[in-house]
Amino acid sequence: MREPVLSVRDLVKHFPVTRGVLFRRTIGHVRAVDGVSLDLAPGETLGVVGESGCGKSTLAQVLMRLIPPTSGTAQFEGEDLFAKRGAALKAWRRDMQIVLQDPYTSLNPRRTVGDIVGEPFDIHPEVAPKGDRRRRVQELLEVVGLNPEHIRRYPHQFSGGQRQRIGIARALALRPKVIVCDEPVSALDVSIQAQVLNLLSDLQREFGLAYLFIAHDLGVVRHLCDRVAVMYLGSIVETGTAEEIYARASHPYTQALLSSVPVPDPTVRRARIRLEGDVPSPADPPSGCRFRTRCPKAQEVCAEQPPALGLRPGTGHATDHPTACHFAEPPRLVRAE
């Protein structure tokens, strides 16, 4: 793999749970992100999938330096991301931008599209001289498929899909190297969602962007991503190329997740791995393997030893990509047509 643009090691983010008003004391921690390592190469798309509460959005916020990490390191082009302060931090923000999930709350309703998309230039005036801004904003609107004439309109005059395009234009303004996409299409209808997904892949080709693509929709992730990391309760349970994950998933959680997704074709009948119950609370995760409470393969060792994320030689079922399960094995079934 090429030199990664973003490299994360053992990232941990715990939120304290407190009780009392006057005498606040910490009674526990929500382990939102609990030891995540990943690498993102320039120009590639890394998908992070998982169900709600698995910590994928917290991961995005920590990597954007919106909230401080509890521990762990991250390097952006070889420099320590969490050590950046002042001017260095501000300069770095040009290189990494975020597109948020909800196009209704992520745009200021009282500012025009021109103001919203042009705001990055106010903060980083060195990128575009003042006289040039209007032209730059109109260019950006055109790049994301909006009418450049609409620069004076307000967010409420646009549909959901168009608003998401405005958010993308804003993220593109400073020509970043990495864009974190936090569920960018999950609030959109299918026909509009497809438009935005195609836009994201066009932009990637045009500007050589790397995406950290956070989503819960496995179809969307497969469509867009080169590599995929599957998260469960704050940690990555399996990672590999899209092909490795979707065709040869070896962690029982990934297998169950994939088998739960309905396929829009009534002639395809897949065997479904049924998971019982709900995801445990991240404030009180199970001992050992976090998935063991819902895992059909769980045995005693799973409660005692947390399985490390890695290749598993010597289990009789060596996998070709890292997986965090004591009993990882390639899927037995594929499909019955």
Binding site: T45, E51, S52, S159, G161, Q162, D189, V190, S191, I192, Q193, A194, Q195, L197, N198, S201, H216, D217, L218, G219, V220, R222, H223, L224, C225, D226, A242, E243, Y246, A256, L257, L258, S260, V261, P262, V263, P264, D265, P266, T267, V268, R272, R274, L275, G277, D278, V279, R335
Partner: protein, 349 residues
């Protein structure tokens, strides 16, 4: 009394408007469909297509005003409901037809225990004592596979997880054993693994009890797995209707086909792995207060001709029995099958 061709539920040319004057939104523009015992009709559509308003009108819980039913009929076992008085409708709700909502947290009352809310129906409709009704409520929770139902029955909605709340709502809807169940996006807000559990549960209960199910959803995957028949809605109309196998194999309406080409599939490698490219439908759904003249889909349709801007295509039989589509060129699309032709001017002339 019951004719042979009488359906469990029949909706005939239903029309609903919102607002008055120039800003009147035509939300339903002649919706017709039917459901029989034990079968699943899926109503598929994007936001604003009118699927939830259809459900609310059938249940008699449409807010009027701002809504206004301007025409059509809803018949339950032959009995006309739109003209019936509120007393009669109340009696039918719960007893004969029940509804499951998308957002269980706002559909359940936060200040009463889950069991109490289910038990109410047994107390007021079956005249049971409080204690007996609670026992029955626990049985219902057990039926929808809530673990530890006897203890859980006394808990409040906020103590339940999202999936369990949805189960509790299903229990509530099924309490009086209705013949018709309307589920409005029953699993949309849930994670995939939980979504699969809920859809499986609904399907099983429908089969065991012979309930007619109207499943309202935007998810083409869910529809493919559980629906017997599918009605695709666009701008307040049903634009295509067929059994599941026919609809997915030979869609007759360009909108249906566009939807299928828009979904990134988990079993397709996508752009990252040289799989299919998404072919989205261009443009946006129309505003319901300014639905385009002629075919409402024509501004977004790659195959639109002059006739499409002039005439509203009626929903008519195209080929297979019970396969209906509202497109002037439906026969050609059906004949071509699911693979979209490479060029855009296939239907010229």
């Amino acid at each position: 009394m019951t004719a042979m061709d009488e359906h469990l539920l029949e909706v005939d040319d239903l029309r609903v408007e919102f607002g008055r004057g120039r800003g009147t939104a035509s939300v339903l523009n002649g919706v017709s469909c039917h459901v029989d015992e034990g079968e699943t009709l899926a109503v598929l559509g994007e936001s604003g297509s009118g699927k939830s308003v259809t459900a609310q009108t059938i249940m008699g819980i449409l807010d009027t005003p701002p809504g206004r039913i301007t025409g059509g009929a809803v018949r339950f076992r032959g009995e006309e409901l739109l003209g019936a008085d509120e007393e009669r409708r109340r009696l039918l709700r719960g007893e004969s037809m029940a509804m499951i909502f998308q957002d269980a947290l706002s559909a359940l009352n936060p200040v009463y225990s889950v069991g109490f809310q289910i038990a109410e129906q047994f107390r007021f409709r079956r005249g049971m004592s409080r204690r007996d009704a609670m026992v029955r409520a626990a049985e219902m929770l057990d039926l929808v596979r809530i673990p530890n139902a006897k203890q859980r029955v006394k808990e409040y909605p906020h103590q339940f997880s999202g999936g369990m709340r949805q189960r509790a709502m299903i229990a509530m809807a099924l309490a009086l054993d209705p013949e018709l169940l309307i589920a409005d996006e029953p699993a949309t807000a849930l994670d995939v693994t939980v979504q699969a559990q809920i859809m499986e549960l609904l399907d099983e209960l429908r089969r065991e009890r012979g309930t007619g199910l109207v499943l309202i959803t935007h998810d083409l995957g869910v529809v493919a797995e559980v629906a017997d028949r599918i009605a695709v809605m666009y701008a307040g109309r049903i634009v295509e209707h067929a059994d599941a196998a026919t609809l997915y194999a030979r869609p007759g309406h360009p909108y249906t086909r566009g939807l299928m080409d828009s979904v990134p599939r988990v079993d397709d490698a996508g752009v990252g792995g040289a799989g299919a490219v998404l072919r989205p439908i261009p443009g946006l759904p129309p505003s319901l207060s300014a639905i385009p003249h002629g075919c409402p889909f024509h501004p977004r349709c790659a195959y639109a001709q002059d006739v499409c801007t002039d005439e509203v295509p009626p929903l008519r039989e195209v080929g297979a029995p019970d396969h209906r589509a509202a497109c002037h060129f439906a026969e050609q699309f059906v004949a071509e099958g699911p693979d979209r032709p490479a060029t855009q001017d296939v239907v010229s002339g």
